[in-house]
């Protein structure tokens, strides 16, 4: 996984609350193998009209948002379904960070597992960024700041997520070193609650 330290890019505004994972990627696209790329599914039904044509006024479709790598959204981004495919769609579309006042818990875990930064900012800071976007931004994970338009905003992220992102760690590798503890615990659990295991 690519470590996240500091990112410079273009921020695009998505001035909506409750952008749930069903909107980030509609369910009908999720049978697709990841190797085919999920970027084209990102926010598909918001970005396109019923006939499948791109809506020219949608923020991500505007020419000045081309190549955007940071999303700015209102509260409760990524709530709902646990589908990690929502993160695949963002990452495959080139998004490295999402800035919002709050996120769905499962989405946050999925994002960090894929090197995508979910940064929590004050609602006022989000409104200020939405007013500026699309605009160049610098997202600094060490300093936990976002700079845009000559202003600097602090953000919050769970310290565990911060360390994981900045190291690009993968949990399965980390857990391997706990193998003995897990084996001992499993034996203990088996003795205490034998009915959990099928005989």
């Amino acid at each position: 996984m690519t470590p996240f330290t500091r990112h410079e890019g273009t921020a695009v505004g998505l001035p909506f609350e409750n952008v749930d994972t069903d909107q980030i990627i509609p369910a009908r696209f999720m049978a697709t193998p990841r190797s085919e790329g999920y970027g084209r599914f990102l926010l598909h039904d918001l970005r396109h009209d019923e006939a499948g044509a791109a809506r020219p006024d949608f923020p991500l479709n505007r020419a000045d948002a081309a190549g955007a790598s940071v999303l700015v959204a209102r509260r409760n981004f990524g709530g709902g379904s646990s589908r990690e495919a929502a993160v695949y769609a963002l990452v495959d579309a080139g998004i490295r960070a999402v800035l919002a006042p709050s996120f769905g818990d499962i989405f946050c875990g999925n994002a960090v597992a894929n090197g995508l930064l979910p940064a929590r900012l004050d609602p006022d800071a989000i409104e200020a960024l939405l007013a500026m976007a699309p605009c160049p931004v610098v997202v600094d994970l060490d300093a936990t700041t976002v700079e845009a338009g000559g202003r600097r905003f602090g953000f919050e992220i769970d310290p565990v997520f911060r360390v994981k992102l900045s190291n690009g760690w993968d949990d399965i590798d980390l857990t391997a070193s706990w193998g003995e503890r897990i084996a001992a615990f499993t034996a203990e659990r088996r003795a205490r609650a034998p009915w959990l295991w099928r005989t």
Partner: protein
């Protein structure tokens, strides 16, 4: 004296293998449910050449994509057929038990787990599905995870988790006729918001929760995620134990008696502290419907559709306006009487036998004015409903009685609501496009969906009860 502990504290501590310096716990997982949508995680495992740590604690269920009609015939859609086949192959390769498409116990994973007695008090349960919170109704720590975490659990039978904050929702008083667990859930979500319980584990308590059946508790815990909660739990009690006794995978004989003692001791200690305490009076809860595109957009059926011009801030006004525009609703009009195009009874939220009985009680001897379908939560619920004659009530009312699966709740199997159509639905999400592109979903209880079917509009079920017992 030891510090008083909550239900969450006790179950968490019993599964904590280690705590890292950063405060993250490594938890042992007792039950890992996978489904045909878990293919991303199995692929990750295959890429690393890894096998399952505990195939005996892993259980597969085919539910998300399965057809609800024409069972027995080959699946027509090639990509769905491939996913269901991949789950079969993974079960065979890794040696875990599968409740597959042709199994008589197949159904929605969150219905099958409790029904089979796989879901037990004091266990930890994960699944690559956000509604895993359902299983907490039996006193388990149960939560949804993403594909990377699914792969981690497959490989290690453990998960790294930061312990959520503790929140208690106490529901006291008495529920009125025609008001049930779904209304309680939508009431608190409407009050606190779709992210109201973010970062929290919810314990449901109070006289109303104690009086709820296990089915009702499953509905309540199921919807925890719709209020942003990480998980929902109810302390095991006599109702729980009576419900579990004799389930195929529950312990038997002296092992069951011993387990029961342990399970009853899991209840939160009287003086245990919660980080947040919310109290709801059941007397004030009316049957609830949603009007917008988030479960927080919930109001009593007697209310009027919100008017954005009366909203307290511009962002809120904008959100109401966008939601009403998508939903095709005019501000200020009564919710009751809004015409619906179809109804759906099903999903992990409301498809258990009691849900079907509640809907059937309203529909008996009546005709639905709109089309609709009823998909029972499991193939065994389907058999039981047929034994009770509920299927005939639905069919005579004009609704389709179909096989079990996630069906029209998520539309993955092709059961969708047409663009622009309005659906009264017992499901869990009224998100834009959830039931199909352009679909307009109103969430409500099974009894309220039955009322909407009879009236052809959003309707208050209470005047339709006429003394009919709605469980």
């Amino acid at each position: 004296m030891t510090t008083p502990r909550t239900l969450l504290d006790k179950v968490w501590a019993a599964h904590e293998i280690a705590v890292r310096d950063d405060g993250t716990s490594l938890l042992f997982i007792d039950r890992h449910f996978v489904h045909e949508g878990s293919h991303h995680a199995f692929r990750k495992l295959a890429e690393r050449g890894m096998s399952l740590a505990e195939p005996g604690l892993t259980f597969g269920v085919a539910d998300h994509y399965v057809p609800t009609r024409g069972r027995g015939a080959p699946i027509a859609d090639a990509s769905i057929a491939r996913m269901v086949r991949t789950l079969d192959e993974n079960a065979a390769r890794h040696g875990f038990r599968l409740y597959g498409l042709d199994d008589s116990r197949q159904g929605i994973v969150h219905v099958v787990g409790p029904e089979q007695g796989l879901t037990l008090p004091g266990t930890t349960i994960v699944c690559g599905d956000s509604h895993t919170s359902t299983h907490g109704a039996l006193g388990a720590i149960a939560f949804g995870i993403g594909a990377t975490e699914v792969a981690h659990v497959l490989a290690t039978q453990t998960i790294w988790q930061k312990k959520p904050a503790r929140m208690r929702i106490v529901v006291d008083g008495r529920l009125g006729p025609g008001v049930g667990a779904k209304d309680v859930a939508l009431a608190w979500i409407g009050e606190l918001g779709a992210d109201g319980a973010r970062g929290h584990a919810i314990e449901y308590a109070g006289s109303v929760v104690r009086d709820l059946s296990v089915e009702g508790r499953l509905t309540l815990c199921n919807l925890s995620i719709e209020g942003g909660g990480r998980l929902g739990m109810v302390a095991p009690d006599g109702t729980t134990l009576a419900w579990l006794a004799g389930r195929p995978e529950a312990p038997t004989g002296s092992a069951f008696d011993r387990a029961c003692e342990e399970w009853l001791a899991l209840a939160s200690d009287p003086d245990a502290a919660f980080d947040r305490d919310i109290t709801l009076s059941a007397d004030a809860i009316a049957p609830i419907v949603t009007w917008g595109t988030s479960p927080e957009d919930a109001l009593p059926i007697t209310a009027r559709i919100p008017d954005p011009s009366l909203a307290d801030d511009p962002a809120r006004a904008e959100r109401i306006r966008a939601a009403l525009d998508y939903m095709g609703l005019a501000p200020g009009r009564p919710l009751e009487g809004t015409p619906v195009d179809r109804v759906f009874i099903g999903s992990c939220t409301n498809s258990r036998i009691e849900d079907l009985r509640a809907a059937a009680a309203v529909l008996a001897g009546r005709r639905a004015k709109v089309p609709g379908m009823v998909s029972p939560g499991s193939s065994l619920v389907k058999v039981q409903a047929e034994e009770e004659g509920l299927d005939r009530i639905f069919v005579e009312a004009g609704l389709d009685w179909v096989a079990s699966g996630c069906s029209m709740c998520v539309g993955m199997n092709g059961d969708i609501v047409a663009p622009g159509e309005r659906c009264a639905s017992t499901t869990n999400r009224n998100f834009r496009g959830r039931q199909g592109p352009g679909a307009r979903t109103h969430l409500m209880s099974p009894a309220m969906v039955a009322a909407a079917a009879v009236a052809g509009t959003l309707a208050d079920v209470r005047p339709m009860l006429d003394g009919r017992p709605v469980p």
